[in-house]
Each structure stands twice: as structure tokens, then as C-alpha cells.
Amino acid sequence: MRFSKDHEWVEVDGDTATIGITAYAAEQLGDVVFVELPDPGKSVKAGEQLAVVESVKAASDVFAPVSGEVIAANGALGDTPETVNDGPEGSGWFVKVKLSNPSEVDGLMDRAGYEAFLATL
């Protein structure tokens, strides 16, 4: 698993990346009550808005850590958005993307690097 400074994670399997938000991000957001996900087929670019997470408090943007075409969105988040809090780095995944530029993954942090980054916040 690789991590962005915007607190998204990416898990790569072949040319497919699963993307979600980190446990730290979920904790900071608090109780998630709504998630707006892109429809499959949409092209996303690294650094651009991918999704919106609504907690009780506020709406927050989620950015695409890598570029590609959305091939699946986690439908479970529609009925049970709290899944993001319960399993942020597992069952609470947001989308699967077919990578258009797999080398972008190399620019992301590994877990040790992300944890060191969190320690600076």
C-alpha cells in the first residue's frame, strides 16, 4: 500500500489501483455520513478531485493520488457510509482505477514514509 500527502492510499494489483482514505484521514473527519463517488468510466488525473466525503461537520474533497479510468466504485458506501470509519484501509475503499501512468505510484510514500509524514503534522 502506498500513501499520498493528502491522506489517500493506493493498493496496486497489476494495472488496477484500489483507492481509499487513510485511517488518519477517517479519524480526522469523524463520522462519515455521505460519500460522493465518480461513476465508472470517468477519467481522473492525479491531484484532481476524485470524491467528496461528508462528515457530520463538513464536506471534504478527496483527491486522486494517481491517474486513470474509474472502473468500479464501492457501492456499499451509499447505504453504509460509516464503513469508511469502520474499515478505512479495507472495506471502506472508494474506487478502483485502471492506471494510465503506473509510474505515478512510485512517487507515493510507503507506510514507514507516511507514518514519518504524519509525525510532522
Partner: protein, 387 residues
């Protein structure tokens, strides 16, 4: 993480010790939530007893400089000083009663919403207990002090703690420590001796639940907070759940749903307008208010149920079925008790009828919404036939 320009309350240390997530609110360093999170805090206050630090608000006492000792005359005298600023009947308040009222500007706009209480004890007549909002308190207090002139003295009490205990178990929790509170009815208050100090306890709040607001002297406030917290029915509640609770209760938040441009009629707060005061013509903005009372009003505050999609937040536009923007959301969010998004906003009267279908515009998308009655969740105040 702490911002030194922020003011703290007597209880700030307690919030940090409880793991409260602190944010800046009205110039104060306040807990937005504790570790259990906003949803669970919200539900706790609806089911048990939630405890809130609202010490950032503005409690104060206005007292006649030279009371005559005739309680009725002294009350009438202090009421005469404050009534020109507000829309309510203070002269007619009975001893021990609290009234929700509004400070109005010359155009009939709302400078603040506030509570004014008439003391119960004969010896305290000629005094008023006043509680105003945090963000507006300095301006409010200078208006009141100016109106009082030499005839009365305004004493701020916002260096003490103001603790709200709200929820169906609030009365049994508080009466275990302060037995006198069980006899209080909704919107009444008393000064009660406790541990060699005086508490001012009102049966009131801003969650829609039964409960109390307690002015506690700074010297004993942390101990009082801890003593309540030791009761297993009590949980600390942050500003996040305070907001979702008051939103479900349909209660407007000053600075968001009501401000200096909004009149009491537009805001749906006509119940706070005293007939005697309006008839007398001395009420600020009386011309506008009387005109609006006949139905000639530009906009009204309504409750909205957002039927699908994301919560509509403050600032979201409201459109009619044809797509014309007809209003704006002034506060909104997810209602934990309903499991759905709700909002308040202003629309022209033609769109204010219950059942009217509208759209809220969120990130460029139109989501269906319906005008519904408020409160969204029924109030459960402790109303008593007398007192």
C-alpha cells in the same frame, strides 16, 4: 496546536483531559467533539444526559443602582430600561421566569437572540438575569449598559462557567446533587446555594430536550463539572453535536439563520413579539414588523428535508422545480436522529408551504428537498401547568 490569541473557559483544561478536539469558536478555544464522536454524542444527549461547556456565551446581571425595596416597582423600573432594546414583554414576567427575546435594530433586524429572566426572590427584584450569544456579547453588553445609563449597573458573569446539561436523564442527574432543580418548570430559574456558593440554574437549553443551564462560579466549576461527569448517565458533548441537536430541534443559530438583516417575522420568531410592545409603537422596526405581519414579507425561514444525496450546507442555493434560484440554505447537515440530511433556509412565502417540492444545489447538482414543519424532531421540554 493551541492558538494563544484564543480565550479559554474555566473548563478548557477539562476538555483537553477528556481528549476533546479543540477548535476556534467565537474567539474561544472550544471542544468540537470528544473521542466518542459527534454521532454518538448526539444520540447520548437524546437518550441520557449530555453535558456542554457553554461558558463562551454571555451571562450577565442588570441591577437597579438604587432599588426602592418595592419589588413590583423595582421590577417595572428595570424592565423599562431594557424593553426599548428588545421585542419582548419583560414588565409582565413573573418572578422566577425566563423569556426568549430578541435585540432589534431600527430596521427591525435582529442584533441578537437572548434570554432574560426575572429573579424569584423578593430581595433580588430590580435585577435581571441576561444570557446573550458568544459572538455578539460585547456589542450587546455595550447596548444594554448604554440604555441603563446611571439607573442600573450591568455586571458581566462570563468569567464563570455556564454548563448545559441536556437530555431525558438530566433532571435525575442534577437533582441528585442539587435537589431544588426537580421543582423547576421549563423556562424558569432560581438562585440556589451550593457548596458556599450560588448557582443560577435555569430549566432551559438549545437541544429540544429537557435540561438545565447552570451558571457556576469559576472557583467551583471544574469540580462541579467532574462531579456531574462521574455520573454514568452523563457524557461530555462538543459543539458539533450541539449544532446537530439544535438543528433537529428547529432552533435558529444567530449569525447563520438570523442576523441584522433578518426580521423576527422572516425568521419565524413572531412568538417573541409582545403585543403590548408592538401596539405601543415603541418597538424598534415596528413599521416593518407590522407590515410583515399582514403577509407582506419577502422571505420566510423554512425547514427542509433533503430527500436524496449529500447534506445541504450553509450557503447552498435553493431552486424551484423550474430551476430558478429562490432562496438559500442558512444551516444544514445530517440529522442523526432521522438518519437523513435536513436544513433551514429562506424562501419567498409562495414556496414556504409544507410539502412544497424544491431543489437544493450541491456542487452543481440539483437534489430534491421538501419543505417540512419544524422542529424536525419533537421537543421534549418539561412543561408544568403552573409556576
Amino acid at each position: 496546536m493551541s492558538d494563544e490569541s484564543l480565550k479559554s473557559t474555566v473548563l478548557t483544561g477539562a476538555h483537553r483531559a477528556l481528549g476533546g478536539r479543540m477548535v476556534a469558536f467565537a474567539g474561544y478555544d472550544m471542544p468540537v467533539q470528544y473521542p466518542r464522536g459527534i454521532l454518538k454524542e448526539h444520540q447520548w444527549a437524546r437518550e441520557h444526559a449530555g453535558m456542554f461547556d457553554v461558558s463562551h456565551m454571555g451571562p450577565a446581571f442588570l441591577r437597579l443602582s438604587a432599588p426602592t425595596g418595592d419589588g413590583e416597582a423595582d421590577h417595572a423600573a428595570v424592565a423599562r430600561l431594557i424593553e426599548p432594546l428588545i421585542c419582548g414583554d419583560i414588565a409582565g414576567l413573573r418572578p422566577g421566569r425566563l423569556r426568549y427575546t430578541l435585540l432589534l435594530n431600527d430596521a427591525g433586524g435582529v442584533i441578537d437572540d437572548l434570554m432574560i429572566g426575572r429573579p424569584f426572590d423578593e430581595a433580588e427584584q430590580g435585577g435581571l438575569y441576561i444570557v446573550v450569544n458568544a459572538g455578539t456579547k460585547d456589542g450587546d453588553f455595550s447596548l444594554i449598559a448604554h440604555a441603563a445609563g446611571d439607573a442600573a449597573m450591568l455586571t458581566r458573569a462570563d468569567d464563570n462557567a455556564l454548563i448545559a446539561l441536556q437530555g431525558p436523564e438530566a433532571v435525575s442527574v442534577l437533582s441528585a446533587i442539587v435537589p431544588e432543580v426537580a421543582a423547576l418548570g421549563f423556562m424558569t430559574f432560581r438562585t440556589i446555594a451550593f457548596d458556599d456558593h450560588d448557582l443560577v440554574v435555569s430549566r432551559s437549553g438549545y437541544t429540544g430536550e429537557d435540561g438545565f443551564e447552570i451558571l457556576v462560579p469559576a472557583a467551583i466549576a471544574p469540580g462541579f463539572w467532574d462531579r456531574l461527569l462521574a455520573d454514568e448517565r452523563v457524557a461530555p458533548i462538543g459543539l458539533g453535536a450541539r449544532d446537530s441537536l439544535r438543528l433537529e430541534a428547529g432552533l435558529p443559530l444567530y449569525g447563520h439563520d438570523v442576523d441584522e438583516t433578518v426580521s423576527p417575522i422572516e425568521a419565524g420568531l413572531g412568538f417573541a413579539l409582545a403585543k403590548r410592545r408592538l401596539k405601543g409603537g415603541a418597538m424598534s422596526g415596528a413599521d416593518r414588523i407590522r407590515r410583515e405581519q399582514t403577509g407582506d414579507v419577502a422571505r420566510l425561514r423554512v425547514g427542509l428535508r433533503v430527500l436524496e444525496g449529500a447534506p445541504a450546507r450553509e450557503g447552498a442555493q435553493i431552486a424551484d422545480a423550474a430551476g430558478n434560484v429562490v432562496g438559500v440554505v442558512t444551516s444544514g447537515g445530517f440529522a442523526p436522529s432521522l438518519g437523513a440530511p435536513i436544513a433551514m433556509g429562506f424562501v419567498p412565502p409562495a414556496f414556504s408551504r409544507f410539502g412544497t417540492r424544491l431543489n437544493v444545489l450541491i456542487r452543481g447538482r440539483a437534489q430534491p428537498a421538501e419543505v417540512v414543519p419544524m422542529p424536525f424532531v419533537p421537543h421534549r421540554y418539561h412543561r408544568t401547568p403552573t409556576t
